[in-house]
């Protein structure tokens, strides 16, 4: 049966092309792989190969013809035993098959809104632990260690890998004692090779283990960010739900003290942009513990952003056998009437300090700790702003496309009528971190700047 040869699409964007040259003539025998013609696409001149064997019965489009649309019949191929007259009797099968694939699905109208309309705010304001629970003092460092130890006792597939996590007991002593309890099969010192060991961690997660990958600091994770984003975050989607990466990437994030531009980057906004990742950035020891336990159990990749300055800070932690904090649930640290301060991670220390000082001036600030940035509990922020009508966000990261910018846009779109003043986003300055002590202090957000912003939005 004679079949039509169609003008091929030879690049992802080609719609038409020039039939530059025929390399065969009518009557030639061709077999699979033979070059039939040269076709100029929008990018280059390409060779067009035969797929089936047969004889060129008729050339329908002369060489040199420009603007030949993709899928236009350009020649007829005859099968063994057919004569040229068959070329006029071409089966229309191939040309039908060549019709445009069924109509393209129309683009989705708009991105799915994350938070529903303010009237249907779903806010979970249940307490994190039952009233009357015994509380114990713990540093953030100890809380993180306890979280890992508890989860490693619970699940044999959980293991920790990273630089200096085992024999050195952790560069910041977060993994202290874990090697002794769990041995070197489950607490693994890696060479200084972030890209490689992150990929190995993600592969181990594909294989069904539950790795915790520690970055000495998240600055070094930039060497590995391809594995975090392209391999860990996207595989569930790319596989249609068949594979995923249950893995935690954790370590110190943001500015420490006097360590200069390359060791002070806050990645909160970067990772929060990526669908498929979850992002936590705790402030208190209780949240560090409860969120890290949830992160280790989560079947998805979690970026867990800690802070070196907070490691040594002590907080009350509930004494419970299995204390977890769910993702996507903000915590109200302080209730107030006049303004909502929204923060997370170390930003909370400025927010809480500012609220304390503002109270002395008679301004009542409500302080919301997001705790997790993806998913983000914007409903709690909206609910608070509906009460206070004003909002200031506080973070140490850079100002452009910050977490605060996102909150500001959510409020504008979903709580516009509740706002009595523009949202002010307090952030670090738009400069690489300097080394000099005075410049560094100035480069970060300060409590005074938060107070000033609050006075601006409250028109004081």
């Amino acid at each position: 049966m004679a079949t039509e040869l169609l003008m091929p699409a030879l690049s992802p964007t080609m719609e038409e092309g020039t039939l530059a040259k025929w390399l065969v003539k009518e009557g030639d025998t061709v077999s699979s792989g033979d070059i039939l013609a040269e076709i100029e696409t929008d990018k280059a001149t390409m060779e067009f190969e035969a797929v089936d064997e047969g004889t060129i019965g008729k050339i329908l489009v002369d060489e040199g013809t420009e603007g030949v649309k993709v899928n236009t019949p350009i020649a007829v191929i005859l099968e063994e035993g057919e004569d040229a007259s068959a070329a006029d009797n071409v089966s229309s099968e191939s040309s039908q098959a060549a019709e445009e694939p069924e109509e393209k699905p129309s683009a989705p109208a708009a991105a799915k809104p994350e938070a529903e309309a303010p009237t249907e705010l779903m806010v979970d304001s249940s307490p994190d632990w039952p009233e009357g629970t015994e509380m114990v003092k713990s540093t953030v460092r100890e809380a993180l260690r306890d979280a890992m130890a508890e989860e490693m006792r619970n699940d044999e597939n959980v293991f920790l890998m990273g630089e200096e996590v085992a024999e050195y007991q952790g560069a910041y002593k977060v993994s202290q004692g874990l090697l002794d309890e769990f041995g070197d099969k489950r607490v693994i010192d890696t060479p200084i090779t972030e890209h490689g060991f992150t990929g190995i961690g993600v592969g181990a997660a594909f294989g069904g283990l539950r790795p915790i990958v520690e970055f000495m600091t998240f600055n070094f994770a930039m060497q590995a960010i391809d594995q975090i984003i392209n391999s860990a975050a996207k595989t569930l989607y790319m596989s249609g739900g068949q594979m995923g990466a249950p893995i935690v990437f954790r370590g110190a994030n943001g500015a420490a003290a006097r360590v200069g531009a390359q060791h002070s980057h806050d990645y909160a906004a970067w990772y929060s942009q990526v669908p498929g990742l979850k992002v936590a950035m705790p402030y208190s020891a209780a949240d560090a513990k409860g969120l890290l336990k949830s992160a280790i159990r989560d079947p998805n990749p979690v970026v867990f952003l800690e802070n070196e300055i907070l490691y040594g800070r002590s907080f009350e932690v509930p004494k419970l056998d299995d204390f977890t904090v769910p993702f996507g649930k903000a915590k109200i640290w302080r209730e107030g009437e006049d303004v909502t301060l929204v923060s997370f991670g170390i930003g909370m220390q400025y927010a809480l300090e500012a609220a304390e000082k503002l109270a002395e001036d008679g301004i009542s600030a409500e302080v919301v700790d997001l705790r997790t940035l993806r998913p983000m509990d914007t409903a709690s922020v909206i609910k608070s702003v509906m009460k206070t009508n004003r909002c200031v966000t506080v973070e140490e990261g850079f100002p452009v496309c910050s977490i605060g910018s996102y909150i500001s846009s959510v409020l504008m779109q979903e709580a516009f009528d509740s706002l009595d003043a523009p949202v002010i986003t307090c952030t670090g300055k738009d400069v690489p971190m300097p080394y000099a002590a005075n410049l560094e202090k100035h480069a970060l957000i300060t409590t005074d700047e938060v107070i000033e912003a609050v006075k601006k939005v409250t028109y004081r």
Binding site: A97, P191, I200, L209, M238, S239, G240, Q242, P246
Partner: protein, 340 residues
């Protein structure tokens, strides 16, 4: 096809059974016909984006799959159709993924470069050159952690062999004795750059030496040679001796992707390879010379394969596009799917 001559004497070992040869012939032919069909559907606009064909390299995956056992894992780059067919994934599901339809392995959300199969232990399908190398070592890590004797085949090209993460992985794989076979599919061109213009080492497997990883060159146009080398490598890994490198010298007949004008090599070079070294012709000659099959027998096999491929194309055309709701699924899991 009949006009092609095989100038090289086949390396037929007398102990290769007829069934074995016929299986390799079928498996390789399936890949070739499937890829030709994929190229055709691409030309018709039914497959979009990037599409990297495996034509010419068929003996590599077919030979190595012959050395694998149940439980072994495999992972590769974006030139992945051959690997999926060779490990037993359904041509219909692969083709339907190429056309972006709901019956594709990834429900149409992955495409040519991103397919997976939990059932066949196929872990993708990765689009960032070299990224699958540490991932493969990580899969091997999971088996070593569990204490079983499974092996992971980690495939990458001569181009990927210049990525830093490959050597980070070599170091840890050797240090931790991970059961991983690194298969360098050396088709001699990293996209359009010939190996000599991109790679300081002539034999890439020697880059394992400083890490203490043994390796060897394998004739990737000879399925039996690939299988034999694969068995040796796998035995090394299963014995707990750590990783092994196979540098399989092969050749891709088609461009890097569908939109490659292939000006970096001559038409004669490609033609010579096809005529003198073709891995399928080689087995065909062995089957005929060894009187294991007649021309008619092989014609019947060709027909059978063509039918399978045509059925996969029909299936892939008829399968509906994914429902729009699919846009919003599989972003986050409730439970880790591979643990279920």
């Amino acid at each position: 096809m009949a006009a092609r001559k095989t100038t090289r004497k086949s390396s037929a070992k007398s102990n290769v059974s007829k069934d074995e040869l016929l299986t390799y012939y079928k498996d390789m032919l399936l890949i070739r016909r499937f890829e030709e069909k994929a190229g055709q559907l691409y030309g018709m606009g039914l497959i979009g984006g990037f599409c990297h064909l495996y034509i010419g390299q068929e003996a590599v995956v077919v030979g190595l799959e012959a050395a694998a056992k149940e439980g072994d894992k495999r992972i590769t780059s974006y030139r992945d159709h051959g690997h999926m067919l060779a490990c037993g994934m359904d041509p219909k599901g692969v083709m339907a993924e190429l056309t972006g339809r709901e019956d594709g392995y990834s429900k149409g959300k992955g495409g040519s470069m991103h397919m997976f199969s939990k059932e066949k232990h196929f872990y993708g399908g990765h689009g960032i050159v070299g990224a699958q190398v540490p991932l493969g070592a990580g899969l091997a890590f999971s088996d070593r952690y569990r204490g079983n004797d499974n092996v992971t085949f980690t495939y990458f090209g001569d181009g990927a062999a210049n990525q830093g993460q490959v050597y980070e992985t070599f170091n840890m794989a050797a240090l931790w004795k991970l059961p991983v076979v690194f298969v360098i599919e050396n088709n001699q061109y990293a996209m359009g750059t010939a190996q000599a213009r991109s790679t300081s080492t002539e034999d890439i497997h020697t880059r394992g030496v400083p890490f203490g990883i043994p390796g060897e060159i394998v004739d990737g146009m000879d399925v039996l040679a690939v299988k034999a080398a694969g068995e040796k490598a796998v035995a090394h890994c299963r014995a707990g001796e750590g990783p092994y490198i196979l540098e399989v010298k092969t050749y891709r007949y088609r461009g890097h992707s569908m939109s490659d004008p292939a000006k970096y090599r001559t038409r004669e070079e490609v033609q010579k390879m096809r005529e003198e070294r073709d891995p399928i012709e080689r087995v065909r000659t062995m089957l005929l010379d060894g009187k294991h099959a007649t021309e008619d027998d092989l014609k019947a096999v060709d027909k059978e394969i063509k039918e399978v491929v045509n059925a996969s194309a029909e299936f892939a055309k008829e399968s509906p596009e994914p429902a729009l709701d699919e846009l919003w699924t599989d972003i986050y899991a409730e439970t880790a799917p591979q643990e279920a």
